[in-house]
Symmetry: D2
Subunit: 485 residues, 4 copies
């Protein structure tokens, strides 16, 4: 059973993969807190369902207060204090952030969403914000105590999240030295954030993605009143530790980030951060589901044995551990590459395009693994897996959210296709993979990709899924050869 | 879009598959009722969560009343009236029953559980009950109005559902002209049934499955008091239209079915009925998830098109329709075979063993299809798929229950392995499949099975999953060639 | 126990009070339906809590659909078909309406709210609507089948419900041949009504109540889109069978009722209808709580007796029955008077002012009785009274809503004071009461009222409560002498 | 507004009443914690509803774990640490305990139930436990850290809580050096307590209350397995911070307290502690409801004024403050007297009987005040009072529980009557009241009591309520003259 022991904690697994782990003491403390305190809080939040919004106070003043249990705040603030956001900008590296996210999301995958969108607010502010905006907002986002501001990234509107060029109808109008935004955001994660990044179209700008700009929107106006309104919270099937709402922008004070016609680049840069987070969280979730299945299978007996000792189940554990390692290798490659390119601005380097392809493959494949592993872990629990009481079913709910937000499989496949077609990103990928160890399998995979790319457009899109899936598996397996076997 | 039109209703799909459909008028009426009335009721029941049990009345009398919405009863009784149970015994055929189940479970997969366990009570009573028990109980179970009794099949105890030989510790003691049962049933579907079939071990019987017997347990004692107690209802993630509870048998009046040492055969015969039901329901669920995805994709637009017209999604619909048809062919083969052998008693014919293999393949594979299709349908809905509000997530919850109850994948694989080893059931299967059309693929598959069977026991079990899965796909594809392409 | 038998059903009690009951067959049918069907539905609705609003459909269209159980609709439509609204206008009498309300609210006090506000829409439309509005809307509100439109009366805004002059900030602007309304209604009963009556202030009108006008607002615009929006439903402690929401009027199409400067009269006329309804429902609720307590006390034993036979409890039943009869007499007097004056328009007759005083006394006192009786009925149930399971606590929750909406006790006292001061309504009241039978007690009560009215303003208001309460009890007791003892 | 300022915090009010307050620093710290932390936790617990019981762990072992939010534990443990139990036995005085309870229950009336029943376990153990039982259990109950054991007092069975002589059917059988209990407890407060006090009837003992004995029942058997089972938690309308369940004793290990035929005395001594607690909590709840109403009325405006400045409402505040002071005086008298007699054993002193009468009057009257004040506070909030969102309605739910548990009004009246008849306790009471200040009113009240006591039995009971109520008011008002006016 020694082989499976690394499943039991996130740091155990990370240490089995990575040669060195910066800030190991911070991660250890984080893990310890979750083991002794966080696990129970997270379970309570999940069982408790979507929290209420208190829209008005008793005297009729609109307040949009979210009635979370107090212990939710203690859980959430923990990660900010540990540096899930401030370390990135202070240490000029994303590695500590994503290591923290892996550790935390083993225990609660949802809470990493607020962290990710806060990061997705701080980074573009640091890269593109005016000096004034940086001076005013950046220190708030990087505080190391519980008064830290939270961020949010609001792009999606009722018309959908994929085709932003068509869907974003929020209008931005210049007003004094800033802007005013009016429109409705439909999937607004971290709905009560103190500072949000929002996509909008400046009045008169061109239609389509080229006419989009990105703005900072604080929760409160300069005069102290609410600057946006939470219409309601979404009743999501999981990630109950992040309040996702519908947000109304009504002449809301806003500050432009970057150039008014370069919004789409900023949006994609923000998405880079969250897709990589999604991949890291997906792997951690898969590990967690396996850890729970293992704990169960070690104590449950059937036919005179612990079920973990039954040959079929043991084989499944071994196979799935291998898959977990491959998925981690792919996810971590996306981390490693992003860490090299996250400060780039357009026009981007080739490495940036390589990163994009790897990020699409990783987002797609790690989420598939997470969902499949969570489903299997439920089955290991037998009938108990179908009960709300034991939480085995929670990981599948959480995994399905990971599979969908930050772009469904369709989105990853089609955007991956595009970066291969336009930027030849696959050539860089295969060069890198071949460096690890050349193989006939790799050459075959490359030909298959080439064949796909040479098809007429409609057919290319129609047949993309199978090729993309195989490419993801192939890259993951190959990358995992870089780590201990 | 004509191709996909058959997805829109269960009868549409059934008619595209089967040359003749008995009692089409009954099925049409059933489908019409569900379209106009049932859909909304089913959604309400699902949203409403697990109902309360009123354990005592206000005057302290134990009553164990389940507080379902009244309209739940109207929904449930509908199917009984239409003949989901009585037709089987009156027409001496299971075909009408499973056709009704397909039709109904497109709209509510859960409600078919009460029907199945009621059938699983009536059939062994009709086959093995004493004349007195038949005279007393059978007419109650076969009534054609709303006063019909419901049945239930209670085998599983806290120790687990797979290894019944070890897990069943309910004790049966002779008492007068009947028996008395004492023990706890842990997953008692249809917990308030008027008559249950329960496994128990007669005092002094041998350990293991050979010492099990099967009994009838009515809800009320002869003196009118409760004959068993509902400790609580399980908070399941789906199938909210069936109350699954923990049941306490306490010196409960019981009537032996068949011989006291032949219980395991009766248990397996009951499982035959429910595994086939599970397969039929799984296919209907997969169709339903596709129908919902289709309805959505026809109205949602992105990049200037209805998303159903985007090449990647269209291809997925076509591929999945093909898979749906194969899965149906496999499920229906299990129906067809069961219809031939359901009245057999031990010792069984070869055809019975062939049925068992097909039933394991079908239970396993159709549930996989259902879960995979439901997951995909959520993804088609994008972010909406993660919201409780729109019900797209319901089908995945329902599918996970189908994957687990009546035996998890592990169980189907290992029991399928056993019937191939001991009864050479695979040879009969390949003979039948070859009759449809011989092929090299079939021959290869048969060799692969032979290779597996010749391995040493531990290894055989360890490697069984892949072979079993490929066998299921191969059989399903081959069987689907019997139906319109 | 014969004395208490009249508590067991609403008609039994009504027949013990009133010499003739029009449409007894209709009422009997209504009562029978509730006994056999409605009771269970009403319990389910109450346990189910506040329903969801589906704000957008899956394709992003705003729909504001309330996801009620289907059986809620069947329950609700029943009363409309029986004539709770159409009979009033067809038979030119409110008696059948309030008799139906008494009968229904014994089983579900909440459902009478939709009826009342529908009546409160139909009546001002019939009295003050333009010929065109009447032709278009009145037939819809008076249909005798399930397609009947529902009405609603929306006055209250976030600033409060008592001081409408200050609180109503909804603005009405002329537009074409109609008006457009913009503002937020904060306690909008029957939030999905097809046609609402709403208070608003025409642009430029004077502040205060004199500047208010009343408008009809249909649910859908002429072009078929939503004409108002449901921001959310309120999570009320009871009356779950009425969806009370926050409603946003946004340039909503509207039709003026009556003169633009006479809105306050129409508002008060609408309130007349609902306050009388509130009184009738309060008495029925008190009867229901007593009926439940009686049923319990007849079966529960302690100290060797049925507890209903213990002297203290028996005395309480007898005393409370007496109070119930008095409360009914007062409530019914408000019905009788309203039936004489409901078609009056300003300037009003003396009888109208007498009605207003009686209505304030009845609204206040019947709600007090309802709450006190419900509290006592909980105590009769002992520990069971504190459990959600048995529903004994429901009547107190319902009663507290009756005590508050349509004006809290403070409101009734102060408005009652005003109609005595300004219109000398108490003199008419004492004249009527003395006609029944003169007494020293009456004379004393009249002097007490006179003393109060002669106090300086601040002191008069400060001391009003005690006098008003005693006047209500005195009037109720005296009026009950008109009915069988 | 200075007058009303003492309503704002529990200590403020206590300091306005009592000349000296022991351990003021402890109480101040307690109050501060509740203001800053506890209020939000308590609100969350109340909104969260009844917690789940996890009856079995994932491996089938019965564990009966209550899934409370973690922060519930922190809230609960706080009071134990502050000394709500250990101070009573260490300082040999109940005053610190009840002062803590007043302070805490202003913020959460429910959490004082666990404290009370823990006290009700420790005290009889200290008075009547064997040396061995004391050595084993008492230190656990008196720990000053979070490992403190909780107690529980389980008397009531399904047959009811008033007539224990008839209702207790739990049987105690001698077993080794201890006993074994078998039976069902129906309202088992603090259901997961480490140590419970339970009433049972030794096999062969006489029927009626004289045959009852009282036992200690630990949660775990000596061998570590569960010693009793939680069948389910009750879904109570309030006091969600105490898990009230149905408990099954099944041959549960138990230890006799006191003599086997003196159980009824111990039961009543335990009830003394909890009835006095109930009185103290009721007054604190009434204060809290007033404090909330005040906070609201100071910010809400109508007719151009803060509503607290409207004469009618201001008068109500003043009148209710007077009533609150009287109710406090009565409750505190019961504390003072209990503090003098709590260590008495039968046969009891006259002072003990005086205490009993005062305790009945206080339990009855303070609960009436609490319910009436909570109802009024809802009305002050207008429509907001009917919404779950703002919590104004919570105090009425809590008050109704206070009115019912520890004996309904009926119980207090009849038991109060008995102690007057049998022990002439009213004579001692009037002597004490007259000492404060003689008055004609007191003499009249005494005659009225005498008249009642001289009636024939049936009539005496029938007419008891009015006299008892007036006696309570009279005693409360008179006692309040001892405190600052």
């Amino acid at each position: 059973m020694e082989l499976l022991d690394i499943l039991r904690s996130p740091l155990c697994f990370l240490q089995s993969r990575l040669p060195t782990i910066p800030h190991l003491d911070v991660l250890t403390a984080e893990q310890d807190w979750w083991k002794t305190e966080g696990v129970a809080i997270s379970g309570t939040i999940d069982r408790g369902g979507t929290p209420w919004v208190r829209m008005f106070d008793r005297w009729g003043k609109r307040i949009d207060e979210i009635l979370y249990p107090r212990e939710y705040q203690s859980m959430l603030r923990k990660g900010y204090r540990s540096g899930v956001v401030w370390r990135a900008l202070e240490e000029n590296s994303l590695i500590p952030t994503y290591l923290l996210m892996y550790t935390i999301s083993f225990y609660d995958p949802g809470v990493c969403c607020p962290y990710t969108v806060s990061l997705g607010t701080a980074v573009p502010l640091a890269k593109y914000g005016s000096a004034e905006a940086q001076a005013r907002f950046l220190p708030e986002l990087l505080r190391k105590d519980d008064s830290v501001w939270q961020g949010a990234t609001w792009m999606t509107e009722i018309g959908g999240g994929s085709d932003l060029g068509a869907a974003v109808s929020t209008i931005a109008r210049p007003a004094g030295d800033g802007w005013r935004l009016t429109g409705d955001k439909y999937f607004a994660s971290n709905a009560a954030a103190e500072l949000a990044v929002a996509a909008a179209r400046p009045e008169g700008a061109s239609p389509g993605v080229r006419g989009l700009a990105v703005f900072l929107v604080p929760r409160y106006c300069k005069d102290g009143s609410l600057n946006y309104f939470i219409r309601r919270l979404k009743d999501k099937i999981a990630t109950r530790s992040v309040p996702t709402g519908e947000v109304e922008l009504r002449d809301s004070e806003a500050y432009l980030l970057g150039a008014a016609d370069a919004g789409i680049y900023l949006i994609l840069e923000v998405l880079n951060l969250s897709r990589v987070a999604n991949s890291v969280v997906s792997v951690a979730l898969a590990q967690r589901a396996m850890a729970d299945a293992l704990a169960y299978a070690e104590c449950r007996t059937a036919f005179g044995k612990r079920i973990v000792d039954l040959p079929l189940l043991r084989r499944q554990f071994e196979d799935r551990l291998r898959t977990l390692r491959s998925a981690f290798a792919l996810a971590w490659e996306s981390v490693r590459l992003l860490d090299q390119v996250w400060m780039e601005r357009p026009p981007y380097s080739d490495r940036y395009h390589l990163f994009r392809l790897v990020a699409h493959l990783a987002k797609y494949w790690t989420a598939e693994c997470a969902a499949d592993t969570a489903k299997w872990a439920m089955e290991v629990h037998g009938g108990l897996g179908t009960l709300a009481e034991f939480g085995a079913e929670r990981w599948l709910r959480e995994a399905m959210i990971l599979a969908i937000w930050e772009g469904t499989p369709h989105r990853q496949i089609l955007d991956g296709l595009e970066v291969m077609e336009r930027k030849q990103a696959h050539k860089m990928l295969f060069a890198q993979l071949t460096e690890i160890a050349p193989s006939g399998e790799l050459r075959e995979m490359e030909s298959e990709v080439q064949r796909l790319l040479s098809l007429p457009p409609e057919q290319k899109e129609a047949e993309a899924e199978g090729v993309f899936r195989r490419l993801a598996v192939c890259a993951a397996d190959q990358l995992s050869r870089k780590y201990p076997q």
